[in-house]
């Protein structure tokens, strides 16, 4: 005879997602993309399909960078246009490619034009093959520092471009930038912990690719507390229900779940953004 399981416990977040498909609070997905990707077939990579999928589970803000900006040259304006068409849910990170300094300056000059949809910058150092500590990023990081903007950085354990020691160095160099460590320096959890503890409170771990991994969210919460962890899916890569399922399946408190899914983003951006 099975005992009462996670999904059956009355008045819990897990039960609400199981039965209703959503909870009584909004979700902020802080790490998404948009557009086709060379390496994968993605059936739902444009705005309408992504939004339909995200809204099913109660995503209130879907914060994305467009692949045409990260791998091409004109994607930020495409991202902005998508935001204009879907202002109730979409927010954008301005994609930065340090290998094109003139383009980077041009795109940053447009940042204010893209407000309020533009909420920060996105760096993809592993793909652009430029270390996060390289001077090629200085202009963009100075820009973010002056405005105290979030910078969502792709990070991964042992990466020579955005691994743990490199991220620790750069976040300490820019205490006014709000660093969102995409993938939480996946696999190098010691560095992820150091990045949170050895700074001025300007760093957040972002969970993309982690929910579902057994025991990892529990470990991160134990190390740094849930107040420094943000939810993300890489949508259109990962399913929102899989990712939320991974968060609510973790052995953490309901307060921790709320912190991760929306409260921390509320604290960073305010109630209306």
């Amino acid at each position: 005879m099975l005992k009462q399981c996670l999904w059956e416990k009355n008045n819990t977040i897990a039960q609400s997602f199981w039965q209703n498909g959503k909870a009584d609070f909004p979700i902020y997905d802080m790490h998404a993309h948009m557009g086709k990707h060379y390496a994968i077939y993605m059936a739902r990579c444009e705005a309408a399909d992504m939004i339909r999928h995200a809204e099913r589970i109660g995503v209130k803000r879907l914060c994305f960078s467009h692949y045409a900006a990260l791998y091409g040259t004109d994607g930020n304006e495409i991202a902005a246009e998508n935001c204009r068409q879907h202002p109730d849910i979409l927010r954008m990170y301005v994609g930065i490619n340090p290998n094109y300094p003139q383009l980077m300056r041009k795109e940053l000059a447009n940042f204010d034009k893209w407000r309020p949809y533009a909420i920060g910058l996105k760096f993809l150092a592993d793909y652009h093959k430029v270390k996060m500590t390289d001077p090629a990023y200085s202009y963009a990081l100075d820009f973010a520092s002056e405005r105290e903007l979030p910078v969502l950085c792709h990070t991964w354990g042992n990466s020579p471009f955005n691994g743990g020691p490199i991220m620790l160095e750069i976040i300490q160099r820019y205490p006014k930038v709000k660093f969102f460590l995409g993938h939480s320096i996946f696999g190098d959890w010691d560095s992820a912990e150091r990045c949170i503890k050895e700074n001025d409170g300007n760093v957040y771990l972002e969970l993309t690719a982690i929910p579902g991994e057994r025991g990892i969210i529990e470990d991160l919460v134990r190390r740094v507390g849930s107040e420094h962890i943000l939810y993300g899916t890489d949508l259109p890569w990962f399913d929102e229900y899989q990712a939320v399922g991974g968060v609510v399946s973790a052995d953490i408190s309901e307060d921790d779940v709320r912190n991760i899914l929306y409260r921390n983003a509320d604290n960073i951006f305010g109630k209306e953004w």
Binding site: L2, C5, W7, Y41, R44, G212, Q242, G245, G246, A250
Partner: protein, 251 residues
């Protein structure tokens, strides 16, 4: 779960060489926590233990620690030429005696070529007896998997769904070409991808699987529950498909 029967198609138990992993009791505790009724288990260290040891140890573990018989084990194959496993007739009889209804292989750890020359005697018999063969050893080795299935086009088999980052370009050709191919979706995190595959190839080709202990069982349960499929298809994928496959095995 009361409303759905979940039968997890991909779990591993037993200590690894590099570190300990949850055993049977750990898996059963997780199953209780998430509401998973049954699970199909392989040994974490089958690659190092060798096929015969892993097969024997798994049966012993289940006999000792799973009195309610919620778990079923998967046996590992080896090439027929070295005499390490009984001849096919005796081998399949032994499977039946031990309540084993599914097979797997570990050619890259056990160092042989997965092909008709090495495994033909066993796998031809597996086809006749409709024994499902779990091919998770080919995870990430798509060239090898494609070559293997060209040699065994009629195999009743279960392919690993991927490594988080969607593998539809690899999976869909196999589902299209081989009627016996099924997909277990531990690691298949594609947004609404389960529904897409079910609509294209039928819900009977898909199996709920967690990938325990690497992954928890809950994330993919919620993914399936809200996949967008109707209740009948969800029930098939959650557990009925695997249950039917194992019931029909060895018949």
């Amino acid at each position: 779960m009361k409303e759905l029967m979940f039968f997890d198609a991909c779990c591993r138990v037993g200590d690894g060489v590099e570190r300990p992993y949850p055993g049977i009791s750990g898996l059963l505790a997780d199953m209780d926590h998430f509401g998973v009724d049954r699970a199909l288990v392989q040994h974490n260290s089958a690659g190092f233990l060798g096929a015969e040891n892993a097969n024997r140890i798994l049966v012993q573990m289940l006999e000792k620690e799973d009195p309610e018989k919620r778990l079923e084990c998967v046996w590992n194959l080896l090439p027929s030429q070295c005499g390490e496993l009984p001849e096919p007739e005796a081998f399949f009889s032994s499977m039946k005696e031990n309540g084993v209804h599914a097979l797997t292989l570990d050619p890259f750890s056990h160092r042989y070529i997965p092909c008709r020359l090495t495994l033909g005697k066993y796998l031809d018999e597996a086809v006749k007896r409709k024994v499902p063969v779990f091919l998770n050893c080919f995870a990430g080795k798509w060239d090898d998997l494609y070559a293997f299935l060209r040699e065994f086009p009629d195999l009743y088999c279960v392919v690993h769904g991927g490594d988080k980052w969607g593998r539809d370009r690899h999976l869909r050709p196999l589902l299209e070409a081989y009627a016996g191919v099924h997909v277990e979706f531990s690691g298949y995190w594609v947004p609404e991808g389960i529904a897409d595959l079910a609509k294209l190839y039928g819900a009977k080709r898909l199996l709920y699987a967690s990938g325990f202990p690497r992954y928890n069982q809950g994330a993919s349960m919620l993914q399936l529950k809200h996949s967008g499929l109707d209740a009948q298809d969800i029930a098939l994928i959650a557990g009925k498909n695997l249950e039917t496959m194992l019931e029909e095995s060895l018949c």
